[in-house]
């Protein structure tokens, strides 16, 4: 295996990905090299021409330049796609650097000032564009691993740039060195073009750019606002430290040539150590410490050194502070700052990042410039006090970082919880005037779909204007709208004095009729008389509607469904009458109802039994349990039987426990677990908890899914946290055992082996599901739904947000175990290990796994491995597992395959190729 392949595998990249990384690394090196040369030239020329004490004025001027350029660039971004904006930025930089190189010998004083403005505003925007491109190419998890490498390449470039600047000071005047800038920027442009081909392909999956302005995006996001504050403070720190450093440097080296050499050498030293750290420790620290502590190292360092410098008042303490702050900023600070952007939606990130980076940097500089002018010129405060000010800002930065880190975790949590919404929010939102106006407009629109949606929300709004608009919809020609209007009227408690709704009980449309019957019985003063008239009449469908409507009104039902009426329906034997009787029994508590219901539950007609089960669910009676339990296994009735058992509560638990223990078949066991999850009493919970440690994965699945459901419904943890972690790790070990063969066999040419791979993958998916369900027994289940969606091996979703969230949720040791499992999977290259002993090993593992389906597929796949010793299957001690009627027991499938081993694959063309 070549070194590059091993390196790619370690980074979780394919060969194409590695090539892309190499191109991005080269781009980073040249870009940062050019920027370092530009910075050295900028500082030496400016300080030489104007002096370090003029820097605050420059900071303010740069802020205005940056604002103007960002405005110009946003116009270009609006008019052209993203690639156009980047290209525009790079060509502008090339042209401006050319112009400045030509102007410098002729007008050095003015050009030095202009160079300062250009390097600090327009040229600086090249860097955020580079990182934005990186974030589009890789997700946040990959970014943790790859950005330090890119940063390292940037440092190599910076090192080279600093060395070139320092060395050229001896032989070249600044007017010569400046020509390196357009040349290097041209190379940057060419490299970017090469990468953009890959970039465009990736960007196709990114939603189109938002129409909101950058300001709108920033204003409505608390996370972005905190990020902006954190960036602002980081820039303030850098500027304050840099200012003190430059004052000291000018004092030490008054000659511009000496200053250029000193600054170049300083950059070399800074970048060398940063480089060593970047390749040696940054990635490891980011992975081990996490984002918050990694980013916090920078303000922490400044806080310590600023305090030291304030105490000692020594210039070299300032140099040390600048140096360490620079190292921390270039290594951990840069990578972690960029990763914080990953929590912003890609289309919004694309819009705001360059502007945010540049404007914050420059306006923070301007603010610092203003403060310095006030402090030094007006108040005549000595430079030493600024050191104390720096320490204070560093402390503030640490505080904001703490909040930013919490918000970062919350951003992923919200993104993963999107599937779960809070229905309580809807009624409140419908009561605001704007929502009411929107409903009125929709009701008057005449568009059926819009009207129906509006009608559904009207009952939540309740307003006289809406009431009138809803009543008007009764005359709508569409039956769906009529029915919707009646339902909305009932929801809003609107009576019908004109009798329009009662007339609609004779509508030919079933939906309208049903809604009208419900409305009349619920709200009309003559509702009971109407119901009696219909029940005594011959109209079967209308009678059914009336019985259904009375089901939720026990007082009226008791008056109408007397024993004589029920007996008459039972005696007639007509299916329609039996259904009416079953529905009516669900509405009354009379003593004769239990016996009548028992008769209907044992009726051979499935529809009658289904209606009787619905009645039993409405009027739970423990005496019905022996009849209900066998129906759990009856095809087509299991769901209804479970719904009838759940209201019995604890009374049903012992019987359900027996089913869990295997008294019935698999179907009954699953239904019993479902019923216990819905009963959700402590006793039911304990019954389910006995399953979660079972060696049988199917039982664990039933137990964990049931408990997770209880956790969701009750909002309280159902298992201890430490147990949840242990269960999660166990399932992830199962996942690892399944995921490796799944990945290795994913693209196998032989269908039987591919089927084995797919079966492994399915098992891996189930293991992930169980693992996440285990976590949901203690943690909030809503974001975990999103985690599950992204971690399933059969989905092509981006797993990074799920891992970001889990990284924040779980204790470090638990998360690292999981992370390792997923990394291991990413390192499996499909197509490898497909032959020989490795393949036989996957088959043996499938056979020993214990899952009947995997065993059966393993037997089948063994035909395709020449020389495979089939005597392994002779040791089959599988016992017969009871199953639902009409189904083959799981072990019977295995035996069928073993029996077929002896015969040739006669249907080879259709079944497989081996």
């Amino acid at each position: 295996m070549s070194l590059s392949r091993a390196f790619a595998r370690r980074l979780g990249l394919d060969p194409d990905g590695l090539a892309l990384l190499a191109r991005m690394g080269a781009l980073s090196a040249i870009l940062f090299g050019a920027y370092t040369i530009a910075k050295v030239l900028r500082d030496s020329l400016f300080i030489g021409e104007y002096g370090a004490l003029s820097l605050p004025y420059a900071y303010i001027a740069v802020a205005f330049c940056s604002a103007g350029y960002v405005f110009l660039e946003s116009r270009v971004a609006h008019a052209f796609p993203r690639l156009g904006a980047r290209r525009f930025n790079q060509w502008t930089a090339i042209l401006l650097s050319l112009a400045l190189a030509m102007a410098l010998p002729r007008a050095p004083h003015v050009t030095s000032g202009l160079l300062y403005l250009w390097v600090s505003s327009q040229a600086m925007m090249l860097l955020p564009h580079f990182w934005a491109m990186g974030l589009d190419l890789w997700d946040s998890q990959r970014a943790r691993r790859l950005f330090p490498l890119l940063g390292g390449c940037g440092l190599v470039g910076g090192l080279a740039g600093g060395a070139i600047a320092a060395a050229s000071a001896k032989v070249l005047p600044p007017t010569g060195l400046i020509w390196a800038l357009p040349a290097l920027l041209l190379v940057v442009r060419l490299l970017t073009s090469g990468i953009e081909g890959r970039h465009v392909e990736h960007a196709a999956s990114i939603p189109a750019a938002t129409r909101d302005s950058s300001w709108d995006i920033i204003r409505r996001s608390r996370y972005i606002k905190i990020l902006a504050v954190a960036l602002t403070l980081s820039v303030c720190i850098s500027t304050l430290v840099d200012f003190q450093f430059k004052i000291f440097a000018q004092k030490m080296y008054p000659e511009p040539h000496d200053l250029t050499r000193f600054l170049g050498t300083f950059q070399v030293g800074l970048n060398s150590v940063s480089l060593l750290l970047q390749f040696g420790a940054t990635g490891w620290l980011l992975q081990r410490l996490g984002l918050g502590p990694s980013t916090g190292l920078q303000p922490g360092t400044v806080l310590v050194f600023a305090t030291w410098a304030a105490v000692t008042t020594g210039g070299w303490a300032v140099v040390a502070m600048r140096w360490l702050q620079g190292v921390a900023a270039l290594t951990l600070g840069k990578s972690s700052n960029e990763i914080y952007y990953a929590a912003i939606r890609p289309h919004e990130r694309r819009r705001i990042k360059p502007a945010l980076d540049t404007l914050i940097e420059r306006w923070s500089d301007a603010v610092v410039g203003c403060i310095l002018l006030v402090v030094m010129r007006l108040l005549q405060i000595p430079v030493g006090v600024i050191v104390g000010m720096t320490a204070m800002v560093a402390a503030m930065w640490l505080f904001v970082l703490f909040h930013l880190d919490r918000q970062y975790g919350r951003a992923f949590r919200e993104a993963l919880s999107r599937r779960a919404f809070d229905p309580e929010d809807v009624p409140e939102s419908m009561r605001v005037p704007a929502a009411r106006q929107a409903l009125l407009e929709a009701l008057a629109s005449g568009e059926e779909r819009r009207v129906l949606v509006a009608l559904r929300f009207c009952s939540l709004a309740r307003h006289p204007l809406l009431a009138r608009a809803v009543r008007e919809r009764l005359a709508d020609p569409s039956p769906a709208v009529q029915a919707g209007a009646i339902v909305a009227m009932e929801g809003m408690g609107l009576r019908d004095p004109e009798g329009t709704v009662e007339r609609l009980t004779r509508s030919p449309d079933e939906g309208v009729r049903r809604a009208a019957v419900h409305h009349v019985i619920a709200l009309s003063p003559g509702g009971l008389a109407f119901a009696r008239r219909v029940l005594d009449g011959p109209d079967d469908p209308l009678r059914a509607e009336v019985v259904e409507a009375l089901a939720d009104r026990p007082a009226s039902a008791e008056a109408l469904f007397d024993r004589a009426r029920i007996d008459a329906w039972l005696a007639s034997g007509r299916p329609d009458d039996l259904l009416l009787a079953a529905r009516a029994l669900g509405a009354i508590d009379a003593s004769f109802a239990a016996e009548a219901l028992r008769v209907l539950l044992e009726h051979p007609d499935t529809e009658v039994r289904r209606a009787a089960l619905a009645a039993a669910a409405r009027r739970p009676r423990a005496a019905s349990l022996p009849i209900l339990l066998p129906l759990l296994e009856t095809p087509g009735l299991g769901h209804e039987a479970r719904r009838a058992i759940v209201p019995l509560g604890d009374a049903a638990v012992p019987a359900l426990e027996r089913l869990l223990a295997g008294q019935g078949g698999e179907r009954a066991r699953a239904q019993a677990a479902g019923a216990l999850a819905r009963i959700a009493t402590p006793r039911a919970r304990r019954a389910l908890a006995t399953l979660v440690r079972s060696p049988d994965a199917r039982l664990r699945h039933l137990g964990l899914s049931g408990l997770a459901r209880i956790r969701l419904e009750t909002g309280r943890p159902v298992l201890p946290r430490s147990l949840v972690h242990r269960l999660f790790l166990r399932e992830m070990r199962d996942y690892r055992a399944c995921a490796l063969p799944a990945a290795a066999l994913r693209q196998h040419a032989v269908p039987e082996l591919r089927l084995l791979g797919e079966s492994w993958r399915e098992s891996a998916g189930r293991a992930v599901e169980r693992g996440v369900q285990a976590l949901a027994c203690w943690y909030d289940p809503r974001p975990l739904f999103g985690v599950l969606d992204r971690l399933r091996p059969d989905t092509s979703g981006d797993a990074a947000p799920a891992l970001e969230y889990l990284g924040r949720l779980l204790p470090r040791r638990v998360f690292h175990a999981v992370h390792r499992v997923l990394e291991q999977e990413a390192q499996v290259v499909p197509g490898e290990d497909q032959e020989g002993e490795r393949l036989a090993g996957w088959i043996r593992a499938a056979w020993e796994n214990g899952d009947a389906w995997l065993r059966a597929v393993a037997v089948r796949a063994s035909r395709c491995v020449p020389g495979f010793d089939a005597r392994l299957f002779e040791a089959d001690d599988a016992r017969e597992t009871p199953e639902a009627p009409g189904r083959e027991a799981p072990e019977a499938i295995v035996r069928a395959e073993i029996a077929a081993l002896g015969r040739a694959p006669v249907r080879a063309a259709a079944v497989g190729r081996c």
């Binding site: 269908p751 083959e888 069928a896 259709a910």
Partner: protein, 189 residues
């Protein structure tokens, strides 16, 4: 008699079921039926209701519209896939060319099985969505929603590309996996 694993392998041959996990297919394998076929036998006619999906285990079947043969289906291939979704008439006939064996999955059995397996339905919807997206990107002009109440559209569309009804039928056949090779290939691009 095919084993359950063999049945699952064969069911995977139907495009509509290709993305469904093996354990979910096992449920369908249990309800699928083996049918022996003889040369010259008509499996279904153009006017018959589409009520089952067929997969060829052995032998060959010719699919025709009127007198025109549209395709031939051999071992491992499926036909009549659309029957699982839509109960309209077949629109083409299937006649046995070589003796062999079919595996048939009736729509009623399919729905009975799918009613208890949401994942199975999700996977099928995913495949359908993918196929529709491919069709739309391949022929976007046909994906346009035409305003209602313009019956003349159907008449005026008959030209080199054929009538709207023909296009609809072709679209179904592409989803069905039984379109002439060139176009089916384009649809599954």
């Amino acid at each position: 008699m095919l084993t359950p694993v063999e049945r699952v392998l064969i069911l995977k041959g139907a495009d509509l079921l290709s993305e469904v996990g093996p354990r979910h297919l096992l449920g369908l394998a249990h309800v699928a039926q083996e049918i022996d076929m003889s040369r010259g036998e008509t499996i279904y006619g153009e006017e018959d209701a589409a009520d089952a999906l067929y997969l060829v285990v052995e032998g060959r079947v010719r699919l025709s519209t009127g007198e025109r043969a549209t395709s031939e289906v051999g071992p491992g291939e499926a036909f009549g896939t659309w029957a699982l979704i839509d109960g309209s008439r077949r629109g083409q006939s299937a006649v046995v060319l070589e003796d062999g064996l079919l595996l048939s999955l009736r729509r009623a059995d399919f729905y009975e099985e799918a009613s208890g397996d949401v994942t199975l339905l999700q996977e099928i919807i995913r495949v359908l969505a993918k196929r529709l997206r491919a069709l739309v990107s391949d022929r976007p002009e046909e994906a346009r929603v035409e305003p209602e109440g313009r019956p003349e559209d159907e008449e005026s569309s008959s030209g080199p590309e054929g009538s709207a009804a023909t296009r609809e039928r072709d679209g179904i056949r592409e989803l069905d996996g039984t379109a002439p090779k060139g176009r089916a290939g384009a649809a599954s691009k």
